[in-house]
């Protein structure tokens, strides 16, 4: 009962802050609302017995990526544009978003996915530790994707430096 109430409160905060992300005029306010949404998602991960994912969510998303975005907003010094209204665009976007919602709910709830089940349950996660279980999977089954990820990060670093340079 208490868990359900907690879930409802977190859901309310997550959805309201997500709506604030797309309605705020000032990009800084949007960024702060997005950080609040990320914290709500981290709470969901804790409720789903995934504490390590929640930690990484707070550190990487709410920490690193959002600091980068806020830093860029402040560096560019964008003025708040309170000029043009685009009502037809908002109506069209809302209609498409509504259909996306219906489609996503239908797909998620009605599809019978034949996914592989595994041996992990809450007792095992509490006993061994979530970090160790994820580490075992990541460094045995997913070793090759993990190595390819490092190449992706290298390309991103080089690309960011090259693109942001004044003169090529």
């Amino acid at each position: 009962m208490l868990t359900t109430l907690f879930f409802a409160v977190i859901t309310f905060v997550a959805i309201v802050s997500a709506i604030l992300v797309i309605t705020c005029k000032n990009p800084i306010n949007s960024a702060l609302s997005l950080i609040l949404t990320f914290f709500c998602l981290a709470t969901y991960y804790v409720m789903l017995d995934a504490p390590f994912v929640a930690t990484v969510q707070v550190m990487v998303y709410a920490g690193a990526i959002m600091v980068l975005i806020v830093f860029t907003i402040m560096l560019l010094n964008i003025r708040v544009d309170a000029t043009k209204k685009h009502s037809h665009k908002i109506v069209l976007g809302s209609i498409i978003g509504f259909f996306t919602l219906i489609n996503a709910v239908f797909l998620l709830l009605k599809s019978r996915a034949s996914l592989p089940t595994g041996p992990y349950n809450a007792e095992m996660i509490n006993k061994i530790g979530h970090t160790e279980l994820i580490g075992r999977e990541m460094f045995t089954t997913f070793l090759l994707p993990f190595e390819i990820t490092s190449i992706l990060l290298l390309v991103a670093i080089v690309g960011a430096v090259i693109i942001a340079k004044k003169k090529l």
Binding site: T3, F7, A14, A18, V21, I22, P27, S30, A31, L34, T37, F38, L41, Y44, Y45, L48, D49, A50, V53, Q57, I65, L68, I69, T72, L75, L76, I78, D81, K89, I90, L92, G93, S94, I96, G97, T100, A104, V105, L108, L109, L115, P116, T117, G118, P119, Y120, A122, L133, E137, M138, T141, F142, T149, L152, L153, A156, I157, A160, I163, A164
Partner: protein, 100 residues
């Protein structure tokens, strides 16, 4: 643990809010943040299904998605800075150099 379907519905709602944001806003950085919101909605689906099935693969995928999001943040924000240096604006309406 709550019911699986409630997590999936929350994820679908967050994903559609992100879609509406990408389609309606003109500020490139806000569109970028909406894309991050959509990626996070997908992450929530991965973790919920992973917990439901008792399989860790979904949570490993969440890490790969976070890596892609970090790379996207670095390159995307560099692109925005380069565009701002040229046009003094990051409105997507001003990205019309190749428009016929």
């Amino acid at each position: 643990m709550e019911n699986l379907n409630s997590y999936l519905i929350v994820s679908a709602i967050l994903f559609s809010i992100g879609t509406i944001g990408v389609l309606t806003r003109k500020n490139a950085i806000v569109m970028f943040m909406c894309i991050e919101l959509m990626l996070n909605a997908v992450n929530l689906t991965f973790v919920a299904l992973s917990r439901h099935l008792g399989n860790m693969d979904g949570q490993v995928f969440v890490f790969f998605i976070m890596t892609v999001a970090a790379a996207e943040a670095a390159v995307g924000l560099a692109l925005m800075i380069a565009f701002f240096n040229n046009k003094e604006s990051i409105d997507v309406e001003d990205v019309n150099l190749m428009k016929w």
